[in-house]
Amino acid sequence: MTIRVLLFAYLRERAGERELSIDVAEGVSVGDVWELLCASHDRFAEAQPRFARNQVYVDKAETLHDNDELAIIPPVSGGAGDFD
């Protein structure tokens, strides 16, 4: 089955791509896909991201389905610099 992986911020820059389409086995989890990405991309492993499946935060154990959108969410930093 195929899933769409979305990358943001420094993960997007390290990968050189905003979006990846990857073929994976039925029943894989979010964590499985993250391990695949870490194995194939330099310095992904240190990112400690959260994950969103079809725009909803999920944990690593979540099972993925065909055509799912998996977003890798590095630590967020919205807002502004004046009130941290």
Binding site: R43, P74, P75, G78, G79, G81
Partner: protein, 148 residues
């Protein structure tokens, strides 16, 4: 209720006006602006990136939670993306309520939760380099070729 990501300058007065109502006894507006100094570095500019669809959905969740926890009349939040020059607003949240305690508390909850949960990232460009804020280490920091 307004939840918006924009690449245009934020009109905070308009946002404040949008939450106004005869049912409200007051409104609170928070405006976050880009700051020149961070961590001992002189920042030249900031750039924001959003996971647009989910960012709006997460803002909506924050607004829903505010409506559950406080007696508010209206909530509006907007975050700017792309390059934001120093001193300009990157985020604004306006809350109106019948009573000021609810408006202050809800606005504070709104900005704190936005910073923690809404998928938006900030990149600082400073003299001689750049870095993503929120990265778990300083490995995301890099130096620009030919700068400095």
């Amino acid at each position: 209720m307004i939840y918006r990501i924009t690449d245009e300058p934020i009109d905070s007065a308009a946002l404040l006006g949008a939450v106004g109502s005869h049912a409200a006894g007051g409104s609170v507006l928070f405006v976050g602006t880009t700051r020149e100094e961070n961590d001992g570095k002189v920042v030249e500019r900031l750039e924001y990136e959003a996971y647009h669809v989910m960012a709006v959905a997460e803002m909506q969740k924050i607004g829903d939670e505010i409506a559950r926890r406080w007696s508010v009349v209206n909530v509006a939040m907007v975050h700017r993306v792309g390059v934001v020059p120093l001193g300009e607003a990157s985020v604004a949240i306006a809350v109106s309520a019948a009573h000021r305690d609810a408006a202050f508390e809800a606005c504070r909850y709104g900005i704190d939760t936005l910073k923690a949960a809404v998928p938006i990232w900030k990149k600082e460009y400073f003299e001689g380099g750049e870095r993503w804020i929120g990265a778990c280490d300083h490995g995301s920091q890099s130096r620009r070729e030919g700068a400095g």
